[in-house]
Amino acid sequence: MSIDKDKIKHISKLARISVDEKKIDSLTKDLSSIFKFIEKLNELKTDNIEPLSSILDEPLRLRKDEINDGKIREKILENSPQKNEEFFVVPKVIE
């Protein structure tokens, strides 16, 4: 599997990370060598192996859906980069 510039642009679009044109060559080189490294796994036959889904023996627990730490709206909003009263503010979405 080779990684080229177009692929990098496609993945970065999916990941919502804008990639600096100046860095795209070195990124392509790094990712190519990393994928070459991880493709070592293709040596191994795994047709009859079940993929691991959890490292724990027990199934995941469910808990009751109860509010136990609410009423901290003000505190939560304090960490927001931009807010207006009790709302998070984002760039305009609808014209």
Binding site: L41, L44, E50, P51, D69, Q82
Partner: protein, 486 residues
């Protein structure tokens, strides 16, 4: 009294309990050492003032019935601390002040300890040298311009330099054990699910585990006791009774079977590491353990598997950093999507972006089966290798790392050579089992080297006992020149 900051945690607690020293005195001594942290750069946030306040309050009405009475300690800056900035080593969280406390730190405070500061680490715990931190390199106290390992590099450095009597880190692929090995300290990665992950900034949720970093094995047992326990807030927390690791600690390991996996002898490993391993075998044999050759045939596939699974989980965990609810937001971008893209481009460092891109790719349509599912199959094989081996042995002995600490910048431009640092530690995370690294010798530069003991799930007591027996016979002495104080 000789310098109290050089003492083990257990010795310090004993002095507090005997009322021979006050918490304030201890706290002052560590604060004085922290003042010389400039060159080491192990702290991101210094909480000296609040710590002194807490120490004075403790001294007024000391409760000596707890595990860590009046103990000041600094923690990796990946643990959320209520009202204290938590950066995860990233620009993205430069101004993030959590309004909740991680379960692990809360457990420590409930046992009488209090916060001394937040320690530097690789950005989002992604790195093996602490060079990916937005807050700068950390230096290893063993020598100038030498890395402390990573990602818990600030923790290891601060501990070895006597800036904190004990600390905690997190280990996703070796991030506790490798820096412990590089700095001549003890580091334990517990069984997946033993220590709560709630309130720890997430990297790869099926691999992340918090654990203690200490000067001695005895301290390690005590810290694990304080940290471990069931937590309803973590859906993968194991519901089991608390154990008294420190009380049950013994160096009697007669009759235990120790496995030596032949696949851990890798090309180009310095001969000192081979000697160290041989010496480890001899010491355990002399202590009455039986040495057995074993095979973990899929070991060589562990790193490639890890570099699919960990980035995949990271890419979904880090999707939350969108510049809306908390953290950094870019001022550039005409619309919402551009704001997201610029925020994530400017807020994350190169290594984090690299891993998000790898993860996004291996999870993307058309590649999911070829990479992610393939990796989870191999992960099952790696786990099976350990399950098979533990039918024959009680624990496994290996070197902790394939080399001693290296120079800052030495491996920075080659991600693969950096990743190879974790070749002996990564399989343990993939299998969810516990492992401890203890200082065991030095290389030709006199830099510390560690030995790793790997155990069965939830068999931390036995691991600690074997490490305790080995530690006594190895008698490793840290000999620091304290160059950073000059």
């Amino acid at each position: 009294m000789p310098d109290i900051t050089k003492k083990s945690l257990t010795e310090i607690i004993s002095l507090i309990k005997k009322k021979e020293v006050k918490s304030e005195e201890i706290t002052q001594s560590f604060i004085k050492n922290i003042d010389s942290d400039k060159k080491l750069n192990s702290f991101i946030t210094n909480c000296s003032e609040q710590a002194l306040e807490k120490a004075k309050n403790f001294d007024k009405n000391p409760n000596l019935q707890t595990l860590l009475p009046g103990v000041p300690l600094a923690v990796k800056d990946l643990f959320c601390t209520e009202g204290v900035k938590t950066t995860a080593g990233s620009k993205m969280l430069e101004n993030f002040i959590p309004n909740y406390e991680s379960t692990i730190t809360k457990n420590l405070w409930n046992e009488g300890a209090f916060l001394l500061g937040k320690l530097n680490c690789d950005e989002y715990a992604m790195g093996s040298s602490n060079e990916t931190s937005y807050y700068g390199n950390v230096m290893n106290p063993i020598a100038e311009n030498t890395v402390p390992g990573g990602s818990s590099g600030g923790s290891a450095s601060a501990l070895a330099a006597d800036l904190t009597p004990t600390t905690i880190g997190t280990d996703t692929g070796g991030s506790i054990r490798q820096p412990a090995s590089f700095t001549g300290t003890v580091g334990l990665k517990p069984t997946y699910g033993l220590c709560s992950r709630w309130g720890i900034v997430a990297f790869a949720s099926s691999l992340d585990q918090a654990g203690p970093m200490t000067k001695t094995v005895e301290d390690c047992a005590l810290m694990l006791e304080a940290m471990a326990g069931f937590d309803e807030k973590d859906s993968t927390s194991i519901n089991k009774k608390k154990e008294n690791y420190s009380k049950k600690l013994t160096d009697n390991i007669k009759g235990l079977k120790i496995g030596i996996p032949k696949e851990y002898r890798v090309d180009g490993m310095p001969k000192e590491i081979d000697q160290l391993w041989e010496n480890g075998k001899k010491i355990l044999k002399d202590s009455g353990a039986e040495i057995i050759d074993i095979s973990l045939p899929n070991t060589k596939y562990a790193l490639p598997t890890y570099y699919i699974v960990a980035p995949a989980e990271a890419s979904s965990n880090l999707a939350r950093y969108d510049g809306v609810k908390y953290g950094f937001r870019s001022s550039k971008g005409k619309n919402l999507i551009e704001m997201y893209e610029n925020t994530r481009s400017e807020g994350f460092g190169d290594e984090v972006k690299r891993r998000i891109l790898i993860g996004t790719y291996v999870l993307s349509s058309g590649y999911y089966d070829a990479y992610y599912i393939k990796a989870q199959k191999v992960r099952q094989l790696i786990k099976n290798d350990f399950d098979q081996s533990f039918k024959k042995v009680d624990a496994i002995l290996t070197p902790s790392t394939p080399s001693a600490a290296f120079k800052i910048g030495e491996k920075k431009d080659d991600p693969i050579s950096m990743y190879l640092n974790d070749i002996f530690t990564v399989p343990v995370n993939l299998a969810g089992i516990p492992a401890i690294s203890i200082p065991a010798g030095t290389d030709s530069n006199n830099y510390p080297l560690g030995l790793q003991l790997i155990g069965k799930p939830l068999d931390e007591q036995k691991l600690l006992n074997i490490a305790y027996a080995a530690e006594k016979k190895i008698n490793f002495k840290q000999n620091l020149q304290r160059w950073w104080e000059k």
